[in-house]
């Protein structure tokens, strides 16, 4: 019965619906975007009515908001936190800095393309995106979760060597020291 494909599909649908309506956010406040999280969460643009809620530690979180530019030192920590999250897990990139480096495109210590190092599910454009844009991006994330397309964790697991190679290119010693991501 449980192995029946349709029942599995039904269970999957319900689970995706639940996941999409209860998303616990780990706001990794880098750069300027952290200031946009506060109005998004609090009573001006109340993100909790959509089921978004702050999570304290990566163990409990579902989605990681990367709010702004990532220096080489920061991206290591971000990768570490992402690997500590428990799948299904999603990544949302804020602003042009995560998309293409933005105004730091030629800085020697700021990465340009976030999705070379982590599987990003949703990008939110702007420098910085205003809370309306953030809400729109989160709604988009909910939609793709509901459609079951938000499979960043599987993507990361499948192309782990490629991601690790990219990370090792900017941070060789750190990646060597970090415990390996074997799940």
């Amino acid at each position: 019965m449980y192995n029946d494909k349709n029942s599995k599909k039904i269970v999957e649908t319900i689970q995706n619906w639940a996941r999409s309506h209860s998303v616990w956010v780990l706001a990794y406040g880098t750069g300027c975007g952290a200031i946009e999280i506060a109005p998004t969460m609090t009573s001006r643009y109340d993100a909790e009515r959509l089921g978004f809620r702050g999570a304290a530690t990566p163990r409990q979180a579902d989605v990681m908001l990367i709010t702004g530019y990532l220096t080489v030192k920061t991206v290591k920590r971000v990768v570490r936190v992402y690997e500590q999250m428990q799948s299904p897990k999603y990544v949302v990139g804020f602003g042009s800095c995560t998309i293409n480096g933005g105004m730091y495109y030629d800085s020697y210590n700021t990465i340009n393309l976030l999705d070379k190092y982590l599987p990003v599910d949703v990008y939110i454009n702007g420098c910085m995106p205003r809370p309306e844009a953030v809400i729109a991006g989160l709604a988009k994330l909910q939609q793709i979760i509901r459609e079951g397309k938000a499979n960043g964790a599987e993507k990361y697991l499948e192309n782990l060597d490629w991601y690790k190679a990219n990370q090792r290119k900017i941070a060789p010693k750190w990646i060597a020291k970090a415990p390996d991501y074997n799940w």
């Binding site: 530690t57 990566p58 163990r59 290591k76 920590r77 971000v78 570490r80 936190v81 500590q84 750190w174 020291k177 970090a178 415990p179 074997n182 799940w183």
Partner: protein, 616 residues
């Protein structure tokens, strides 16, 4: 030559033989030691019958020995704990110094405690009391550390107790002309009023010293933590219970005949409650496992003293039950600390981390014993605590019951501190080499822990002997025959049925443990305690993130004003003089029993003069 004498002589001879054999080769010493402890113990369990009395004519006076139901209860503790600790002590003492002295004093202490329990006259009582005291004293200073501070403190307080008991004996003998306990108890009414007040107070002083009642407790924590751990189980489990034994005798036989008895009872009960609370607060602030357990022993003795002092049948039941159970779980916990000290070489919480995966069996016994210590159902500590609270409430000691509730709730703090300090926290490469303790050390502590588990569910195993003991000392039947279905009940009709609760607890626990284990087992993997969510930072190898230093700091900050006043200060001036005197005498004598004998004789002479003037 009857059984009791034979057993005692076997202990005595075995001690000496063990010492000599230990000089030949350590293996012979170990074997002889085990034989010495186990053979007379077996003879005790098989041969001795309750109620038999024997007379011994020696030195012109008659020593009367016999076994009463009450002393049978206590001697069960002594012998059982003695056997287990002897099995434990052999691997514990392996490769240590002064093994011979350890075995000698250990055997001698067991012998002395049995002697105290079987002696029916004050002379032999006093003799065995002294043997017990100085054998334990030699055990306290065995490792040669802090002799100036710890040993002398213990010695001074024991001396005070001994002189008090001696004085009481002399007064009783001179007034009643008999050393027999029974005579002194029965003819208690014939004493003058001054003596009727004086004798119980003197005896209670002696027993209060041994059972570490609050104003007289100063020696206890240092002495407990300074003795070898294999002996401290006996020290705190059985040896301090001798004070309770004497206290029960005095309370029941003498205080009950006094018109002022209730006042004395209340004073003792409040001392006990104060002991429980303050010792708990002190235990919370300790950073060394030995000291923590020592203070917690003082606190548990406080509970027992409260129960004995209240003196209603339920309270006596609770106190005697806690006597046995405390012997079990505290013996197990001291064994745990000894095993950890044996395996890692230290007992400081701030140094050891995460032994749970290295020493799992030690952790299991520690966990069960700590749950029993905290008094959490369905383990044995809860039974005694429940009965104690019921007795207190029904005896209208409302503030005292609040005090004890506070003590037991604060007890959770040091319970958690103990477990977290040794077994939990991050696993350090420093302790990667640690192995589980040898089986001879693990099995006794596991047996004791499981014993607390069994007694928590089937307390009637213990209620029947306690009931007979209470009937012996003159209580009417405390309904020990009614406890068959392991139901706790009080006069108010409040019941706690233990067995169904235990089954429900086990069922729920097993169900959810299995649920957590089997739900998504494939997706769940083990990660080391170094791989924690530290906001993305990688802790370095030398970085230890475990939270150990100032562990209970918020609570300590709260109770600071209480901790400021410690009783030690008030003893300091007095103690300095006594220690100077003792230093002087130590230079004359060799610091063993002879000193003591001379003290006793001098004090006796003084006492006679003194008594003639005072009470003549």
């Amino acid at each position: 030559m009857d059984m009791i004498t034979l057993i005692l002589l076997l202990f005595l001879g075995g001690a000496i033989v063990t010492w000599l054999g230990g000089k030949l080769s350590p293996i012979v010493g170990d074997m002889l030691f085990l034989v010495t402890i186990i053979v007379p113990a077996g003879m005790f369990f098989t041969g001795v019958t309750v109620g038999e009395v024997t007379h011994l004519h020696a030195l012109g006076l008659t020593l009367t020995w016999g076994l009463s139901p009450l002393s049978y209860l206590f001697s069960m503790i002594v012998v059982g704990l003695g056997i287990l600790l002897a099995i434990y002590a052999v691997p514990f003492m392996k490769g240590k110094q002064k093994t011979g002295a350890f075995y000698f004093n250990f055997t001698l202490s067991v012998m002395a405690m049995l002697g105290i329990l079987v002696s029916k006259d004050w002379v032999s009582f006093f003799i065995f009391w002294e043997i017990m005291t100085w054998s334990s004293y030699l055990m306290v200073i065995l490792n040669g550390k802090d002799v100036q501070r710890v040993g002398i403190k213990y010695f001074i307080f024991s001396a005070i107790g001994a002189y008090a008991m001696l004085m009481a004996m002399v007064v009783m003998n001179s007034q009643l002309g008999s050393f027999l306990m029974a005579d002194t108890f029965n003819n208690f009414q014939h004493l003058t009023v001054g003596n009727q007040i004086l004798i119980p107070i003197l005896l209670l002083t002696a027993f209060g010293v041994k059972s570490a009642m609050m104003p007289l407790h100063v020696w206890a924590p240092d002495a407990y933590s300074n003795a070898p751990m294999a002996y401290t189980g006996l020290f705190s489990g059985a040896l301090s219970k001798m004070g309770i034994y004497g206290m029960v005798l005095v309370m029941v036989t003498m205080i009950n005949q006094l018109p002022e008895g209730t006042l004395i009872r209340d004073i003792i009960a409040w001392m006990g409650g104060f002991t429980a609370a303050a010792a708990t607060l002190w235990a919370i602030t300790q950073d060394d496992g030995k000291k923590l357990l020592a203070w917690s022993s003082v606190g548990q003795m406080g509970y027992i003293i409260v129960g004995v002092a209240i003196g209603t049948p339920l309270a006596m039941l609770a106190a005697l039950f806690l006597v046995v159970v405390h012997a079990m779980f505290k013996g197990s916990l001291f064994m745990v600390v000894g095993a950890i000290e044996k395996q890692t070489g230290t007992t400081d919480f701030r140094e050891i981390n995460g032994l749970i995966r290295k020493m799992p069996w030690t952790f299991i016994s520690a966990l069960i014993s700590v749950i029993a210590l905290a008094g959490i159902p369905p383990l044995a500590g809860f039974v005694s605590k429940w009965m104690l609270y019921e007795a207190l409430i029904q005896n209208n000691n409302y503030i005292l019951v609040i005090l004890l509730f506070f003590a037991s709730t604060a007890g959770f703090l040091y319970c958690y501190k103990f477990l977290h300090g040794y077994f939990l926290g991050q696993e350090e490469p420093e302790w990667a080499h640690v192995k589980e303790a040898p089986a001879a050390m693990v099995i006794p502590m596991l047996l004791l822990a499981i014993g607390t588990f069994v007694l928590g569910t089937f307390p009637q195993l213990l209620f029947k002997p306690i009931d007979s003991a209470l009937q012996y000392v003159g209580y009417d039947a405390t309904g020990g025959h009614l406890w068959g279905q392991s139901i706790l009940f009080s006069e108010w009709g409040d019941i706690v049925t233990l067995q169904p609760i235990l089954y429900v607890v086990l069922a729920v626990f097993v169900f959810f443990a299995l649920f957590l284990w089997f739900k998504g087992t494939k997706g769940t993997r083990y990660v080391s305690t170094k791989d924690i969510s530290t906001s993305g930072e990688l802790p370095k190898e030398w970085e230890n993130l475990t939270f150990k230093v100032n562990f209970m700091q918020p609570f300590e900050r709260t109770i600071e004003p209480f901790l400021k006043r410690q009783i030690d200060k008030y003893y300091t001036a007095f103690g300095n003089g006594l220690e100077a005197l003792f230093e002087f005498t130590r230079r004359i004598y060799t610091g063993n029993g002879q000193t003591y004998a001379i003290y006793a004789i001098l004090f006796l002479a003084l006492l006679l003069l003194f008594r003639v003037n005072l009470f003549g």
